[in-house]
């Protein structure tokens, strides 16, 4: 399974990129058994509508461009697109947004993605520490990560105990356990994602940084909504 991952990374390197496009990053996740939202890359307006219908409304449309890492910043993401008319409209709008902010951006296509129902957001990430090597981060999404920096780390390779401990260690853990009458989140599914990421990054030293942000966690199962993988030439 690693061969396919190598292929994806080599392609990025050959194009002079040091990061994977979102669909590439999600494919890498899929290869490692990490659950991601359904997605397809449309190269035309017609394809966009066809894929949206295959996936089922509502959908999310996102820019796919080697020149754009942070997609939201330039109006490259639109959520809750409900029908074919809106798909066409949003398709044009995203391309216009990107062109107007970054005229020379190469556009590889538009990602049509299943719109997963809202749920508790968590983040799983990876970073290479110069002394300890690949390390995994876990935190709750949104302000918990960004403002409160309520995150925990473990160094690869992780045991199941490590994964469970790092989830239980964050201050916001009670939100996962049960919050305002919500059913408890499926912690086992997060443990599973963490262990798969641990495996992925230890088998692929070219991965320099990784963000699965956000991941929606449900009372049963979890889904990666956005994935970013930054590479470093070995």
């Amino acid at each position: 399974m690693s061969n396919k991952v190598d292929e994806i990374m080599n392609e990025a390197f050959s194009e002079g990129r040091t990061f994977l496009l979102e669909p590439e990053a999600k494919e890498v996740c899929q290869i490692y058994g990490i659950p991601v939202t359904k997605f397809k890359v449309a190269r035309s307006r017609e394809e966009a509508v066809r894929f949206a219908e295959e996936i089922g409304y509502p959908v999310v449309l996102k820019i796919v461009s080697p020149d754009v890492i942070h997609k939201t910043d330039i109006g490259g993401v639109v959520v809750d697109v409900k029908n074919s008319k809106q798909v066409l409209e949003v398709y044009d709008r995203i391309i216009k947004n990107v062109k107007s902010r970054k005229a020379d951006a190469k556009i590889s296509g538009i990602l049509i993605q299943e719109m997963a129902p809202d749920s508790t957001e968590v983040v799983v990430g990876e970073v290479r520490d110069p002394q300890f090597g690949p390390s995994i981060m876990f935190g709750l999404g949104g302000i918990f990560v960004e403002i409160l920096k309520d995150v925990s780390f473990r160094i690869v390779p992780l045991t199941e105990r490590d994964a469970r401990e790092m989830i239980g260690e964050i201050k916001g853990y009670p939100i996962l356990a049960s919050y305002r009458g919500q059913p408890p989140s499926d912690v086992d599914s997060i443990v599973d994602i963490i262990l798969r990421v641990s495996c992925l990054v230890s088998e692929h030293p070219e991965i320099n940084q990784l963000d699965l942000n956000p991941i929606f966690v449900y009372s049963k199962g979890a889904k990666v909504i956005d994935a970013m993988i930054i590479l470093k030439k070995p």
């Binding site: 970073v127 002394q131 300890f132 090597g133 390390s135 780390f153």
Partner: protein, 510 residues
Amino acid sequence: MRIPEIRPYVIDNLKFMFKPDSIAVIGASRNPKKIGYQCLKNLIDSGYKGKIFPISPYADELLGLKCYPSINNVEDDIDLALVVIPKKLTEQIVTECAEKRVKTIAMITSGFSEVDNKELENRVVEICRKNKIPLLGPNIVGVADTSVKCNASFCQSLPYPGHIAFISQSGALAIALVGWTLKFKIGLSSLASIGNKADVDFSELILYYAERDENTRCICMYIEGIDAGPEFIESCKRAYVKKPLVALKAGISQRGTVAAMSHTGSLAGSTKIYMAAFRQGGVIPAENLTEMFDRALALSLQPPMMGDLCIVITNGGGAGVSATDASEKYGIPLRDTPDDLKAKAKNYMPSFGSVKNPIDLTGMCTKECYEKAITAALEHEDVDSVVVLYCHTAITDPMDIAEGIYSAVTKYEDVKKPVVACFIGGVECDEASNWLKEMGVPSYPSPERSMTAMGALREYGMLLGSVECDEASNWLKEMGVPPYPSPERSITAMRALRKYGMLLGGRKVE
């Protein structure tokens, strides 16, 4: 140079560095202002029983010992070469040591990678590695081992003897802290200053102390930076099941080298990564130097706390409240005193005492009250540890109280429940406290410090409990108890283990 892997020959041979039969002081000097003089004098003064060979081309005799122009002129085998010569001679000297088949080298000489002179350092290390000679340093204050009274360093004297192996990345701090060990009776088995750690690294020292040095019961580390991260975790994992590890990581500012392309990158600081490494390696962290030694002392003298009921016994309400506040911070849940213990404790206090946890014997209480209350607590099967607080009063003698505590503790040594003490007051309290430490009961001048010490004993208990829970989890499954791999839940599992009569941390439980 980063260690390529954990090397068994280093772990095997470090005994020649810490407990050598013969030492050559290369660069011994007659000038009392030189380190080459101090090291030789320290070896003689410490009462070291092995052979000492001063090496210097400038003298025939030094401090009453025959002096040799070169190590080649010594006929005996050399276990440890203590190198204090100028750096430009080091390469040649290390080559001579290799020819002489010296077993280990501790290099005090400085002026290497710490001042960007990496090339010379690498050449010296290469010679040592090729000849399988463990090299400690360079840029260190030396090594010391209290069990063989060997002070091969320029520390003012041997540390206070005891059971903590102290590994320090700072030399100056090591010297200063030797002073603390004497002043506060913090017993060390051994001291290793590792300086530039050009060859021997934390991981190998940890394993030597954990697996080869019987006199060491706790390994204590002052860490500024680790080069071989995965090896460090691996060795700690191997070590902590045998002996507790405590570490202080200094320099906790945010690392700037991680380019923050991702969220994760921007959130990873060296502190968080080190804390993760400590957690995964079973290392008990300390926030500062005081806490480091407070925790190490308790871990070197007392058994781990294998459970979650800690009873606090005090003669003053205020001290009890402070201890209660601190207990939360250090993760010791203070549950209520068991009813039958409450009934017993009432006999050892005036009517206005309190039997809740903390048990307040009041300022009226005597040596006998303390002794009986501690005994009752240690005897009780639900109690896992005892913290004894004493506030100095006009009507009691702290030394008397210390004797009472010691008498109760020795009576119940075999139940393997940890006890720590706290004496709040003036000089007379320090005396009582120091005496207790000498007798093997850790004692501190404030409730907070005694609670952080007990917190460390509980953390170590949980670590051991987790290990045993892993081992026992299959068995538990068969018994219909689901295994939970988290520390809090391992307590639940420990209770289950206790029920089925399994052993925990060497402590027999019913």
